[in-house]
Symmetry: C2
Subunit: 400 residues, 2 copies
């Protein structure tokens, strides 16, 4: 008997939350073959080590890869170290900095560590495309590039746009999709995953496999997630992201900060809910947004940390921002080592004199993160995130 | 003192008969520098060993290269064996057959032998671009191709046309101009020569040198010569060509066959006339086309063979086609070894019987190329071109 689940069960999980499967019938055939031959499919995901900071935007495609792992298939993470080390020789493309071999290695390891939060690292196969791309000769490149036409390449959205607007497209930019596509030929991948912005590149791989007489890969795209501002796609450059490895408190707080109309999307893409559970949540969203947003934050923190940390994060948040009526904005004070609380109060001119400060501490009118300070020699030590110092009823300072 | 002629003298010869010099001021600067430093300029001419049959159409650019040689500069013939061996992987481009290493070698040698009729072989430097192109890595290719944009490449006439008409341009086709241009970077050429159809490719070399911080090459284009039909450009495929190594008789005959209005062009491009001599000829052309065409034919044969052969070719032509009123068309008979003339006559049914043939020979009514045959045992041997057998007054046969 095959170790793989039945076709329908596999298709249900694979199709959940994806944007496109091209073509779906091919995927079904590949799954059936995998069941019959009792052989896992090879699922390829490429990653760019020049952008090593993973956030929840990346989690969609990583979750999808983990779904394939849970179904018993072989996940292959392709580290695009070759192209990262070349970068963009013109220097025009800021998203393609030229990495040294050292940086490429470090970034790749960092990417793997972060992805390991979502993926099953034990069964994950990790390969580096420099292993085969750096050995290609001019002859090889000419052969590979003869499989694609200029018109096909210009069809890619960003190329079309730039070509029409008369903005330069350097010739080597046509090489990157070919290189990525050639990776699929070398790996003989059955499926390649990517965000919707990767659709063209994934199709190049499918095409190159076809003209190399391989059974071409199915491509599966996942949506691009909106950032916490609800306006732009999640991205480090918009500062609207939640990092995959952020601590529980920050993760919890950032999710609570999202606009209400983003909750349905986040529930769908970030919480591991069944279809029925998701439908139930969506019905309740308008009636009870506050509690459901708290539930979402707890669920997500539980996924990336654990239940215990999720509970603690919620308590800590409540203590700081809800029960104690802490304002949204307040002055900040940066500390690098331990500082006496009395110095903090006087140095930031929160009271008239050092005497006033002493008196307020003795009266129990000073607290840090809701904990009363009564010792006038109490020292504040730097915390991982931040602490709120409260003096009297209306004076706050954020210690970072 | 410099061994090189003065600037004006050099410019006069170099500019003679060329289509464009881009840019002329750079050429002057380079010549001046060459005179001052007493150092020859490097003059590059690329050749494609996939088309090894040289005809008068190629002689224009070869003549130009020989002009530079006569001025003391270094002619460099670049054999494009690398791209010839790759050919066109799609097989769509018939002018780019894929050559084996053996064929590439043979064709290259044949090209060199033919070009040696025009060039000074002793001082000619011959290089093969496979020497540096086959060692390029993917990294190198990406660097080179980053120096050019898609829009710049599509500007090439044939690419523009095909792109507009929706005809496919395979990506590797963009690689060939880059490879040719990169040759200039490797060779650090001062000047590159080519036909007007090569202008774009020559400019790619100039551009690549510029962005590689070299003093960029000047490009010089020579016109494309009309074929003997006066309609199309000279080309083997139109069968309107005169081969550089054709024998004197054929060369002479082919030149006499050109339409009168082509004479000015041929005088200008194929005869080594000074400007004054050329002006003189042009004035006379309409008054005396017959004699001037004969003079042109003699002059050209003299260049590619010698004066003696030119005179002989004219005599032979006259004997055959003018003095003896030989018709333009006649039956042909192919021989591979010596054949008795009496057999030729009877086998080709030119007379009623073998007896008739004998009688005609004895009467002196049979001739070959105007020479009477009186011996009935005379044997015809195969000649390099062809011979005309005449029987009586109106029967002719062409022995090839």
């Amino acid at each position: 008997m095959s170790k793989f689940p039945e076709l329908n069960e596999q298709m249900d999980l694979i199709a959940r939350g994806v944007e496109e499967i091209i073509p779906e019938t091919d995927l079904e055939k590949k799954i059936e073959k995998s069941i019959t031959e009792n052989k896992p499919m090879k699922i390829k995901l490429g990653c760019d080590p020049s952008r090593p900071d993973l956030h929840f935007g990346h989690s969609l495609v990583l979750n999808k890869l983990s779904h394939f792992q849970s179904l018993g298939h072989q996940a292959v993470l392709v580290i695009g170290d070759f192209t990262a080390m070349i970068g963009d020789p013109t220097g025009r493309n800021k998203t393609r900095p030229q990495l040294s071999m050292e940086e490429a290695k470090e970034n790749s390891q960092s990417y793997i560590d972060q992805a390991g939060v979502i993926l099953d690292k034990k069964s994950l196969k990790i390969v580096y495309n420099s292993d085969w791309l750096s050995g290609l000769s001019f002859n090889d490149i000419i052969n590979i590039s003869s499989k694609y036409t200029v018109a096909q390449m210009i069809e890619r959205d960003d190329f079309t746009k730039r070509y029409k607007e008369g903005l330069p497209i350097a010739l080597h930019e046509f090489m990157y999709p070919l290189a990525q596509g050639y990776d699929s030929v070398v790996l003989k991948s059955d499926v390649e995953l990517g965000g919707t912005d990767q659709k063209f590149n994934l199709l190049v791989g499918r095409h190159l496999q076809k003209v190399s007489n391989q059974n071409p890969q199915v491509i599966i795209t996942t949506p691009l997630l909106e950032g916490t501002d609800g306006i732009n796609k999640m991205s480090k450059s918009y500062d609207n992201y939640i990092g995959i490895t952020e601590n529980a408190n920050d993760m919890y707080g950032k999710i609570l900060s999202i606009p209400d109309d983003l909750m349905a999307t986040y529930y769908e893409n970030l919480a591991n809910l069944s279809k029925d559970e998701l439908d139930g949540v969506k019905k309740e969203l308008t009636q009870n947004p506050r509690d459901l947003k708290r539930q979402l934050a707890r669920m997500v923190v539980e996924i990336y940390h654990d239940k215990d940390e999720a509970v603690k994060a919620e308590e800590s948040f409540d203590k700081l921002f809800i029960k104690k009526d802490v304002p949204d904005e307040m002055p900040e004070c940066t500390i690098t080592s331990n500082v006496k609380v009395i110095d903090l109060i006087t140095d930031n001119a929160l009271v008239g004199s050092r005497g006033d400060a002493k008196r307020l501490i003795k009266q129990g009118a000073v607290s840090i993160d809701g904990n009363k300070i009564s010792d006038i020699n109490f020292e504040v030590s730097k915390s991982e995130s931040y602490q709120i110092l409260k003096i009297g009823k209306r004076k706050f300072i954020k210690i970072v």
